[in-house]
């Protein structure tokens, strides 16, 4: 897909991720023991052969910049293309309230103009999945579509009470209606917030929105043009999980403990790449009791770990118990402490004998660097 420019939109701040997005953008939230959320869509793009990728960021993008760096880990170092960070363009003195995604795209039109690619793949930053985007390209040409979106059939899985962009398809997989609503889904087809089209069409849709003062690419650019543009939808059959709240974050993290999900997400099409850290292998002591868990490198386990995800450098002392929980980088759980149904952000220390117990449906979140 050398002829495609990839755009990852990380400008939407997911307020429901609460403390996890207090000091970082959605894309930079740690996930799956050693990744950040953006690694999935970024790796999918790189693995599909996209060589030119722009990331639309928020202003507060330090964690993200540190993480993606020059794009080397995704093999995106290149003299002509590569990875580009597209920060918000506005001056303090011209700033007037919230910007819609259309404004962000519009501000970076020169980047799109300069890029040599003919097609564009735009995606939100917050979906966890492993997909070969070349399938979308093939489908696009087969259907002679103007736009291809991707959806996941969600009937078989749980319902969320968040907003979902649902699609109404005809027999030919063309999108006939689309609605971004809570509880009132048009169909089980939930859009994964990816769109593929000619770059020129995208730029024209954005220009049209700007000309009319419209702010939202999906509602104003796509839904209002359902008749004029042939929008088709392609079904992604593999695992896909949208992270937009603490609840979905916790649930989708726990899903990785199912070997079939783990294999689908990490091994099905290409490797999910991430920033490399020099950590030794995980070490298990004689007293370690670990079951049904994901463990990152650099962990040091002497206690009990069940149904949990441990990030790099976590230390579980002998006699400590961690159950149904997520412990991020360098967490330390001391002797006799119990952690259950909890999400511990980076560098959290639970001292001896303390208990942190949340509910499976309402996990407790402990903020970065807290010592309890």
């Amino acid at each position: 897909m050398k002829n495609v420019v990839g755009i990852i939109n990380d400008t939407d701040i997911k307020q429901k991720l609460k403390d996890l997005t207090r000091a970082r953008s959605t894309a930079a939230v740690p996930f799956g023991g050693r990744y950040r959320i953006i690694d999935f869509v970024l790796s999918n793009m790189a693995n599909s052969g996209i060589k030119n990728i722009g990331i639309l960021t928020q202003s507060n993008n330090r964690s993200l910049l540190d993480h993606v760096d020059s794009g080397k880990e995704w093999d995106l170092l290149s003299k002509r293309d590569g990875l580009f960070i597209l920060p918000p363009i506005f001056r303090y003195d011209q700033f007037t309230g919230n910007l819609g995604d259309v404004d962000h795209y519009y501000n970076h039109m020169d980047y799109l103009n300069r890029s040599r690619q003919e097609y564009i793949l735009i995606s939100n930053s917050n979906i966890i999945y492993n997909m070969d985007y070349r399938e979308i390209e093939t489908f696009y040409h087969k259907k002679r579509a103007d736009v291809v979106m991707v959806y996941k059939n969600v009937s078989e899985t749980y319902k969320t009470n968040h907003r979902v962009l649902s699609l109404l398809l005809d027999n030919n997989e063309r999108v006939r209606d689309m609605a971004d609503a809570r509880d009132k889904a048009l169909s089980p087809a939930a859009a994964l917030e990816i769109a593929f089209m000619k770059k020129n069409l995208f730029m024209q849709l954005i220009d049209d929105c700007i000309a009319r003062g419209y702010r939202d690419f999906t509602k104003d650019g796509l839904i209002k043009n359902l008749d004029r543009c042939k929008i088709f939808a392609y079904e992604h059959k593999g695992h896909a999980a949208k992270i937009d709240s603490i609840k979905t974050y916790f649930r989708h993290s726990m899903d990785l403990l199912k070997p079939e999900v783990w294999k689908d997400v990490f091994l099905s099409h290409g490797n999910i790449s991430t920033k490399v850290k020099d950590e030794p292998p995980a070490k298990y002591q004689e007293s370690a009791q670990v079951s049904n868990s994901l463990m990152a490198n650099g962990c040091h386990i002497a206690g009990t770990v069940e149904n949990s995800l441990l990030s790099r450098g976590v230390v579980i002392h002998a006699g400590a118990v961690v159950r149904n929980s997520i412990v991020m980088q360098k967490g330390q759980i001391h002797e006799g402490a119990v952690v259950e149904n909890a999400i511990l952000d980076k560098d959290v220390v639970i001292t001896s004998g303390k208990q942190i117990i949340g509910d499976a449906e309402y996990p407790m979140v402990v903020e970065k660097q807290a010592v309890i």
Binding site: G32, G33, R34, E73, L257, P259, W262, V265, F266, L267, N271, I272, S273, T274, V276, K277, D278, P280, P281, A282, K283, Y284, Q285, E286, A288, Q289, V290, S291, N292, S293, L294, M295, A296, N297, G298, H300, A302, L309
Partner: protein, 412 residues
Amino acid sequence: MKKHEVIAMLLAGGQGSRLGILTRKLAKPAVPFGGKYRIIDFPLSNCANSGIYTVGVLTQYQPLILNSYIGIGSHWDLDKKNAGVTVLPPYVRHDGGHWYLGTANAVYQNIEFVDQYDPEYILVLSGDHIYKMDYSKMVDFHKEKEADVTIAVIEVPWEETHRFGIMNTEKDNRIVEFEEKPLEAKNNLASMGVYVFDWQKLRNALIEDDLDSGSDHDFGKNVIPKMLDEGRKVFAYPFKHYWKDVGTIESLWQANMDLIDDSPELDLYERDWKIYSVNPNQPVQYIGAEASVKKSLVNEGCQVYGSVERSILFPGVVVGKGSIIRDSVIMSDVTIGENVVIERSIIGEECTVEDRCRIGQPGKGQEGITVLGENVVASKEKSIPAGVEINIDNCHEFGCCPNGIHNREVGE
């Protein structure tokens, strides 16, 4: 070019023939170690951590994997402008080409490389030892003693002195005699193969050594004894921490096992002295609901459904249900089926061990470590006795050939 006070020359040309099939297609410094590393990661990381950023790596035997592994040294933080890692194979010059004849000759042939940097001191390292050492302290010691040569030494058990180069020293650590593998040692300080030289003095000694047709052109056998004879100031720098020569299958296995102690002498988790390595991008490891992992090191990408005890798993290893891995080293991407038992073995990269195999079968009077070379397939219910080494040359004898069929001609 900027002046560099110290540059390192790392001898990585050795075949390491006592490592048998593990070094058939691989130089010894490239042999995998500790669930993640290759042996050469240790001296390279030591250099970076000691602030020595200019390193020449002298290669000769099967260097392909080593060369592409080292690249420009970025994995060890050694890719600096006007410094960095340079791989130095033998080459042809105006007057013809010569293979490296010995350790000293290898450095001799690269005098021009060293001269480029105009160093005061040169640190000579070997690429086949496991240890963490701050070379800058050794250089400080060398300066303080105003030595011509400083040799790092470690105390070894008296009963093993016959395996090492032994230094006989005076009170102030000055070396008076060097005995290569003495039958009756007078001391138990063994050379670690880590030397600091004044470059100009070594340079002259190397030129002299090259002219000496009787010389084997080896540091330990020729150059250093000669410098001692000439009355040069040669000092012993005592090192008190973990150091292991992993020259044999047994010692390689033992050095791996040393890591699984609760507080091992060699601590890989120290934040201020990291051992760098090339990192594969593999997902976090999965430990299954019925799995048990104890006293072991397990790397990324592993899936453990069985039981792992006192063992080391490299990335991408799968251990099936009901299988037991004990006292073993399992290298990258090995697939182990269900109800397998593996004991006291080293299993090479990309091997497949099918259901109900027994590897390193215990209790049959055989001893020693069992080794499977890379890409060997042990098909269902095979039993491999303890102490054998299996590779593509002899796997048909054990019925362990890739795809179950072995074409003898494929071997070479």
